[in-house]
Every structure is written in structure tokens, then in C-alpha cells.
Amino acid sequence: MEQKQQDGAVEKAGDDHRFSNHNPKLALLLSIIPGLGQCYNRRFMKGTVFFLFTAAFIITFADFIDMGLWGIFTLGTQPGRDHSLVLIIQGLVTFILLAFGLLIYGINLRDAYKDAEKLKAGFGIPTLKEAFHNTYDKTFPYFLVGPGLILVIFAVILPLGFMLSLAFVNYHLRNSPPSNLLEWVGFDNFIALATTPMWQSTFISVFSWTVVWTVVATTLQIALGLFLAILVNDKRVKYKRTIRTMLILPWAVPGFVSILIFAAMFNDGFGAINRQIIEPLFNVSIPWMTDVMWTRVAIISIQVWLGFPFVFALFTGVLQSISDDWYEAATVDGANRWQKFKAITFPHVMYATAPLMIMQYTHNFNNFNIIYLFNEGGPAIRGQNAGGTDILISWVYSLTFSQQNYSIAAAISMIIGLIVAVFAFFQFRRTRTFKEEGKVY
């Protein structure tokens, strides 16, 4: 706005001003060497900055980029000297640098063309001070985004990219840098997962337990949360605040503390569950930690204990916002309680919280803490290299840190990523932020 007014004052009518023969295409062409186009536009300061920046970029990073590209394609040629992992990371950083460089280059081309067009149309050349001011105005948001962007690139995107790369090399205990070189092996790791009998059977059993665990534990915790929220919302119930606080307690206590307490309570030998409840009542003791079936029962029960308060708290808020008129109208129509629940309560609650409910499933799908802290994924099962309660993410952990089978672990991580992406897709369609952008994905 501001800029237009300033420039407008200098604008001349007609085509007879100084720069009426100025050629934007020529400016674009000249900018192939960054800065030249700008100089042609009489923006010498800007041109110098672009040129110096490009020169500095090339001088500083040319070797690094050359080395990075060589490294990521070959993964090294001399064992001992070339560290394949370092080369992969340098390669990824190179890609990031190149993307950044290309972006600046693109901006340079665009800028030269736009400025030339303006000049041709009769806008004057802004003074240095104006130019600085405009640049500051335009680039300010980038300064704001800068720190976040850099952090996201190096703490999130780079690790994810590195993980993707690892899934396509042969990195395991007996083939690890720096003493060995890695190689790109295409989809071999995925093929091994699908066809080698040992991997195949382990993968299928871990995967199916992960699905059962996710569905059963999450659905139960949602159901319990909903049930309790409806009960507390009943008009006849008194002391609602106290009751709510009490019911939220498991969420307030740090998860790792609760899980470790439960791990002690469920202990086969000295645990309180066996000694104080099961043995006196039924005169047997249940092998919570050593029998796969019982361990699974225990883990699901604990997760329901840990997870229902969040759902409960959410639903309580939603239930209070449902108008009484709905229920009164339903009563007049002679609806019974179940019909009211099915037709009013449930749709309302689910509509308001669907993305968060999907998140609950995603969360449990990757719920490493409970699996690992309770029993480290155990008990062991004969003939497979994952424990009886290992879900995909905890299996990845043990493949990485105790078996050092990095590539297979990365391949499984990728599969987890794909599944999460499916969840994410459904969540996307319900996320408010995106609707605000005027599009619904």
C-alpha cells in the first residue's frame, strides 16, 4: 500500500518516460548471473547484494556440495576413511542447502523481472532508504519464521530424512561404519521383512498385536470415559467438582510413575494384585509377567486406567454444551434413554471431538512407554525376535538398541510412518486450522 503511493507520485502518464523501452525479459536473462539483472534495472545496491551473496554461497559451499553429492550417491569408496553415515547426513544437508540456494536464485530471477516490469510501467527507482524500508517490510515475516524453520529442519526433517535413508541401506551389527562401507540396497530390507520366514512371522505377529492393542485399549478407554462423563453429567449427582477431580487423577500423575507402580503391583511373585486380591479370593496366582495372554490383559487394563481421564475431561466439556431442549423434545416424542444416547449424545460428542479421538488411536499405536516400562515388551516368545507384547515402535527400539539392526528398524519405522499418515489423513479432514484456510482437504 505504502509503497504504491510513494511510487505512484513519480509515475508518469503514457509511454514516453525514460524507461519505456526497458525489457523485462532481458532483465530475467541477465539475472542468470544473479545481480546483473538488478543492475540493468538501475538497482545497483540490490544487484551487488545478490551478486555477493551468490559468490559467497558458491565459494563457501562448493566443496561441501560437491563432496555431499558424491558421498550420498556412492556412500564412500574406502572403508575406514569414508564413514557412510556421515556421508549420508552430509548428503542430506547438501540437499537442504541446494534447495535453499535454488530458492534464493528463484527469488533473484523473479525480482529482476518484476522490477523491470515496474520500471517499464513508469514507476520510479526508489531511493536507498525506501528500498531498505520495503525490503524490511517484506522480509520481516521470514525473520520471524527463521528460527522455527531452522529448528524444524535440523531437529525434525533431517532426522526423518536420515531415517528414510537408513531404510534403504544395509546397516546392521555386522556391517557398520566406519570399518565397513554401506550400500544402497533398494527395497531389500522391506523384501526381507516380507519374505524371510523369521522376520515375516515376527512382523505379522507384532503387527497384529499392535492393531489389536490399539483398537481394544483405545476403544475401551473412550467408552469408559464417555460412560463416566454421562454419569457425572446426570442432574441428580451432587459434588460434581470433587468427583471430576478424583476421576482426572490418573491423568495428573506422570505416566511413567503409574506404569512402574503397576509393574510392581502385577509382579508374579511379590506383586500386590496376586498377593492381596487374586490369591485370597481365588486361591491361584496369575502369571502376569510371564504368560503372554495375561501380560496383554494387564497392559490393556493399565492403559484404560491411564487413558480414560483425558477422554472423560473432554467429553464432560462437550456434554455441558448440549442443550437440554434436544432431550426434552426427545422425551416428548417418547424416546427411551438408549435412543436419546444414540441419536443425540453420541453424535454430538463424536462430532465435536473426532480429531482428538483419532489422535487417541494414533497415540496408543505408538505408545512406547507402557509397553516398555511395564515389561520391556516381554515375555519372550520362542522363534521370534520380538517379545510377546512388543508393538511396532517398541520392536523398533529393541532392534535399534539391543540388536543393532538399524536398517530393518528404519524400514519398520517407515511402515509406522505410512500408517500414521493414514490416521493423519482422516484427522486432517476434520482439523479446524485447515478449514480456516478456506480449503478442506
Binding site: 519464521v145 476421576l247 487423577l249 516400562l373 500414521v420
Partner: protein, 282 residues
């Protein structure tokens, strides 16, 4: 009529019965842990939920008698990590969110899209890579490495949280300030920040609590005992010799759980609103 009244009364009794059962299920493990921590001996086998001659010896041991003073060190580490994570997360998320909420710049839409995609993927999916990456840049086994990942991983989600809040602040406010001649920085610091205090508090609190509760990331990053955070330290306390250390673990765990639970219960209203507002992870 009388029949309906009796029926209603029975229902209320049933509802309270459900709550009673839930209370027992919720309180039992927690009270059991408290009981354990008050037992004088170290063996879990001889310990009882209501000890006959209770003592605070385990609490005392944690602070004064442990020759290596591990618990105090872990508490200190957790506080350091939590403070820095909280501070930097607020700073970075606020700046980014402000740009996305108020400026229309090239790449804005793509930026929002990328953040939205990234916040869906738990960073721990990349744990293999994180571990190797940190070891290559010599940040393995440092609190700095841990803080960087916490802050970086939180950026997408927290940005959305703050952006959502900024979006609710009327644009007329900063436009008026602009007309009055306030610069970019001034509008941000003097107008937006004071108005956004509640959401900044939520972000700060979330990020402060995460390092106290998280287990997996410290497990991957931290290797030596004097660098541990509380979650990791307490786990190692019991993982090797469950039977022998549980009473001490219980004492240590309770001293972590009580402050966190209190803060949580007092601020739950804000936490829930924060969680629902941004549609973030549960």
C-alpha cells in the same frame, strides 16, 4: 408415581456405586505406592500397604544418605531441561505463529501445510536417526541435545496452538497500531504478546512438564547416570533390582508426582482448552 421415584433413587445409588468402584480402582495403586514408600525396610516382599512402624527414611535417603546424591542430580537435570525447553519453545513458537497468523508472505500456505503434516508424526519414529545423528555431532549424552530435540519437535504443534489463539485476536488492533506508526516489532511486543499471555502460559507449562514425564527420548539421548532426568533415573533405580529398591523408588516417584499432579489439577481447565483449541496430540 411412587414407583418412578424409587426407580430414580435406585439409579442414583447405582451411579454413586460406579463412582465408588472407580475411586477404589484409581486410589488403590496410588495409595499402595505411598504405603510402600513409608515402609522402613527395602524389601517389597515384607512391605505392607499400611506399615506398622512407618518412617520417612527413604525420603531422607534420597536427599541426604545416597552417597552419590543421584536423586538430587536428576531433579536438577530435569529442572534445567524443563526450563530451557519451556523458554525456547515459547519463544520460537510465538515468533513463528505470529508470522503465520498476521503476515501474508510467499510460502505461507506451504509452510502451514508442512507444519500440519509434521505435527502428525511423532519424532520418535525417527529414533534410530536421532540417536545416530546426535552421536555424530557429539550431542549424545548431553542435556543440550535433549533440549534441542524437545524444542524442535514441539515447534509444529505449539505453533498451531499459538497461531490458533492469535487468530482470535482482532486484526483491527494491530492495524490501528500500524496507522499510529508502530513498527513490526513494537506491535508484536506491546500489543500481541500481552494479549496472548494465556496461551503462552499453556505452552510454557506443557513444555515444562514434558521433560518430567517423558521417558523414551532421555532414554535414547542420555547415557550416564549423572546426566539422567527423573523419569530415566527412577526407572533405572528399579529396573535392575526391582525387589530391593522399590520402596526408595516409591518415595522418589511420589516427590515427582505430587507437584506435577497439583499443578495439573489446578490448571486442568486451561490445559484442556489448550489441547482442544489446537487439535493437538493427546
Amino acid at each position: 408415581m411412587l414407583k418412578a421415584k424409587t426407580k430414580s433413587r435406585l439409579e442414583v445409588i447405582a451411579i454413586y456405586a460406579v463412582f465408588a468402584v472407580m475411586f477404589v480402582i484409581i486410589a488403590y495403586p496410588l495409595l499402595w505406592a505411598v504405603g510402600m514408600s513409608l515402609n522402613p525396610g527395602r524389601s517389597l516382599f515384607s512391605a505392607s500397604m499400611i506399615p506398622e512402624n512407618w518412617s520417612l527414611e527413604h525420603y531422607k535417603w534420597l536427599f541426604f544418605d545416597d552417597p552419590r546424591g543421584r536423586y538430587v542430580t536428576w531433579y536438577k537435570n530435569s529442572l534445567i531441561v524443563a526450563s530451557f525447553t519451556s523458554l525456547f519453545s515459547v519463544l520460537v513458537a510465538t515468533l513463528t505463529a505470529y508470522a503465520f497468523s498476521r503476515y501474508h508472505f510467499v510460502g505461507r500456505k506451504n509452510g502451514i501445510f508442512i507444519l500440519l503434516v509434521l505435527q502428525m508424526f511423532p519424532i520418535l519414529m525417527a529414533m534410530v536417526a536421532l540417536y545416530l545423528l546426535l552421536s555424530l555431532v557429539n550431542l549424545l549424552n548431553t542435556l543440550t541435545g535433549l533440549i534441542i530435540i524437545y524444542v524442535g519437535a514441539s515447534v509444529p504443534m505449539m505453533t498451531f496452538l499459538v497461531k490458533g489463539y492469535f487468530d482470535t485476536i482482532p486484526k483491527e488492533l494491530d492495524e490501528a497500531a500500524k496507522i499510529d506508526g508502530a513498527g513490526h516489532m513494537r506491535i508484536f511486543v506491546q500489543i500481541m504478546l500481552p494479549l496472548a499471555k494465556p496461551i503462552l502460559a499453556v505452552v510454557a507449562l506443557f513444555q515444562f512438564m514434558t521433560p518430567f514425564m517423558d521417558f523414551l527420548l532421555p532414554r535414547i539421548v542420555l547415557r550416564s547416570e549423572e546426566k539422567f532426568t527423573l523419569a530415566l533415573g527412577l526407572f533405572n533405580f528399579v529396573s535392575n533390582e526391582f525387589d530391593n529398591n522399590f520402596t526408595r523408588f516409591a518415595a522418589g516417584a511420589i516427590l515427582v508426582a505430587i507437584p506435577i499432579a497439583l499443578v495439573f489439577l489446578f490448571l486442568q481447565r486451561y490445559l484442556i482448552s489448550g489441547l482442544t483449541a489446537g487439535g493437538t496430540k493427546g
